[in-house]
C-alpha cells in the first residue's frame, strides 16, 4: 500500500515535472519529452529481466515455488515494459526521423530480439507442466538474460549515429534540469515494477490457496 502510493506520487510528479518544469530541448524541441518515460521504461524492462534471471538462479538453488512465481511475473512485466518502449520509441522515431522503424539500427534490432526471446519464454512455460515447467523456465530466464547487455552495448559497439546515446562513460549527456526529472521518472517506473510484482505475487498465492480450498471441498463433498 505504501509502495503503491509512493509510486503513484512519483509518477504524477514526474509527469508534471517533465511537461511543466523541465526545459525544452534546443535540438529536438518538444518531442524530446518522450525521452523521460521511453528510457525509464526501457531501463525498467532490463531490471525486470535481471530480476527474472536472479529468480531463476534462486529457484534452481532452492527449488521453492515462490522464485518461479517471481521469475514468471518479472519476465511478464519486462515484456510489457519492452512493448511500451518499442511503441513510444517508434512514435518518437516517426516524429524525429520520419520513419516508424529502422532495420539498420543495432539498438532497435537487438531490443526486438530481446522481446522475441522473452515472448518465447512464455511459449516454453505453456508447453511444459509441473516441476519441469519451473526448471525449464528458470534455465531459460538465465540464458535469455545474456541478450539484455548485448542490446545495451550494441549501440555503443556499433557506433550508431541514428539512435542517440545519452548515458556515456563520462556521465549523462544532458543538463541537470532535465536529468532530475529523468531520475524521478526512473524511480517511479522501478516503483511501478515493484508494486505490480508484489500485487501479482499476492494474487498467485491467493489463487493457490483457493485451488487448495476447492480440492478440500471436493473431498468433503465426495
Amino acid at each position: 500500500m505504501v509502495l503503491g502510493s509512493a509510486t503513484a506520487v512519483l509518477m504524477a510528479a514526474s509527469v508534471i515535472g517533465l511537461f511543466l518544469v523541465a526545459p525544452e530541448d534546443t535540438d529536438q524541441g518538444a518531442i524530446q519529452r518522450i525521452f523521460y518515460f521511453h528510457v525509464a521504461i526501457a531501463i525498467g524492462s532490463m531490471i525486470a529481466f535481471l530480476v527474472a534471471c536472479v529468480a531463476g538462479v534462486l529457484y534452481l538453488r532452492r527449488g521453492t515455488r515462490v522464485w518461479d512465481d517471481v521469475g514468471a511475473v518479472s519476465a511478464g512485466l519486462g515484456l510489457l515494459f519492452s512493448a511500451l518502449t518499442v511503441v513510444t520509441g517508434s512514435i518518437w522515431a516517426k516524429g524525429a526521423w520520419g520513419t516508424w522503424w529502422r532495420w539498420d539500427d543495432p539498438r532497435l534490432v537487438t531490443y526486438l530480439i530481446v522481446i522475441l526471446l522473452y515472448a518465447a519464454y512464455f511459449v516454453l512455460r505453456s508447453s511444459a507442466e509441473g516441476d519441469r515447467r519451473e526448471r525449464y523456465s528458470a534455465v531459460y530466464a538465465i540464458f535469455a538474460f545474456a541478450a539484455v547487455p548485448l542490446s545495451f552495448y550494441a549501440v555503443r559497439v556499433a557506433e550508431s549515429f541514428i539512435h542517440p546515446v545519452v548515458f556515456t562513460e563520462n556521465g549523462a549527456n544532458m543538463p541537470g534540469s532535465m536529468l532530475i526529472w529523468f531520475v524521478v521518472a526512473q524511480v517511479g517506473v522501478v516503483g511501478l515494477f515493484a508494486t505490480l510484482l508484489q500485487l501479482e505475487l499476492l494474487q498467485r498465492r491467493a489463487q493457490r490457496a483457493l485451488d487448495d480450498l476447492k480440492l478440500r471441498i471436493e473431498a468433503l463433498a465426495a
Partner: protein, 61 residues
C-alpha cells in the same frame, strides 16, 4: 507536440488497462473466496481449511 501526447497516451492507457485487469482478477478471487467460505460453513470448517480461506481472502484486503 502531438507525438508526445500520443506516446504518453499509449503508456497511460496500457498501464491503466493492466491495473483494471489486476483489479478484475482480485474481485473474482474475492468472490470465489466468499463462495468457498459459505460452502465450508455449510460442511463444517476445519482448522486447515480456515487457514487456507484466510490466506485466499488476503488478496481482497
Amino acid at each position: 507536440m502531438e507525438y508526445v501526447v500520443a506516446a504518453y497516451a499509449v503508456i497511460w492507457f496500457v498501464l491503466m488497462l493492466y491495473v483494471v485487469g489486476v483489479g478484475l482478477r482480485t474481485a473474482r478471487l474475492t468472490r470465489e473466496t466468499e463462495l468457498m467460505a459459505r460452502v465450508l460453513a455449510e460442511h463444517g470448517e476445519g482448522p486447515a481449511e480456515g487457514r487456507a480461506a484466510d490466506e485466499a481472502a488476503g488478496v481482497g484486503r
